[in-house]
Symmetry: C2
Subunit: 143 residues, 2 copies
DNA sequence: TCCGCTTTCCTGAATGAGTCAAGATTGGGG
DNA sequence: CCCCAATCTTGACTCATTCAGGAAAGCGGA
């Protein structure tokens, strides 16, 4: 996995310093889409055993602010992160087990972006979350 | 405000016991759309000064499970509740101050419900959150 | 109207994701 | 190679939400 050069480029391109914690976090998030902070900390520590949880939190915030990762947080879930950004995709969340999957919106680029009455808000993004049951949960307990 | 009979009916119709905490919570949520739990506790205690926060949490869970209130929780926010349900409306959230407003979806009843690839999920709801800046924040700090 | 069985509520403590703060390290331009 | 600002470490802390056990209150039936 010699993707480190790419990841460094991403960081540098966003005007951020290239540090090992950030590289590890970026790598972990891209390898574990929709992972929560705890899983990310675990994955990062497999590379760098001594990173503090704080460094991971800081990195995630910085990377999110820089637009390199996206943070999602469905109702009832902790924060989750992914690196697939800028392609206008959405998420399906299982009400039963919390599993998350990506969904490309059928409508096109900007779904429902023309809200009927925006109340004067300047809208820049429409986030869509589909709720339902994942394959295993829907067969395991149809009720 | 003699809406108590109505509220009692709602509870009874959902097969729930009619208790004063529940009536007060239902009343508070309908009077303060998008309020967080703390505000709801405050409003409830104006009617019933001695309700425990636990009773409010329990009531909110029960009412949510019964479909009498809806829980929303935009990324970075605590849980918020509203009584406007079953009419397929969505929300605009201000990135700066967190203000929330209702939005009737322009598309019709079920926006984007036909996701291109559902990954085998059985979808029953599409939740849409528009992100942007509210009128005051967009004029106060255009940047 | 009263009983009794549950459900619901209260008190008080615990959990856990996320944040704050201060000092030590480190990246990278000069 | 140096130096300073940005970043990381450590450790304490916040606060929304949950857990637990006993008390109180709904409500269907007598």
């Amino acid at each position: 996995m010699t993707t480190t050069p790419d990841l460094s480029e991403q960081l540098r391109g966003a005007g951020l310093r290239v540090t090992r914690p950030r590289l590890a976090v970026l790598d972990a998030v891209s390898g574990l889409p929709h992972a929560d902070t705890d899983s990310i900390i675990g994955a990062v520590r497999r590379e760098l055993p001594s990173v503090s949880h704080q460094a991971v939190y800081d990195s995630l915030h910085t990377l999110t602010a820089a637009g390199l990762v996206r943070r999602i947080q469905p109702t009832g879930s902790v924060a989750r992160y992914e690196t697939r950004i800028g392609d206008n995709h959405h998420h399906v969340v299982c009400r039963s087990c919390g599993a998350i999957a990506d969904v490309d919106c059928a409508v096109g680029e900007a779904p429902c972006l023309d809200a009927s009455d925006q109340h004067g808000f300047v809208i820049d993004e429409a986030e869509v979350i589909y709720w339902g049951l994942c394959p295993s949960c829907s067969t395991a307990r149809p009720q």
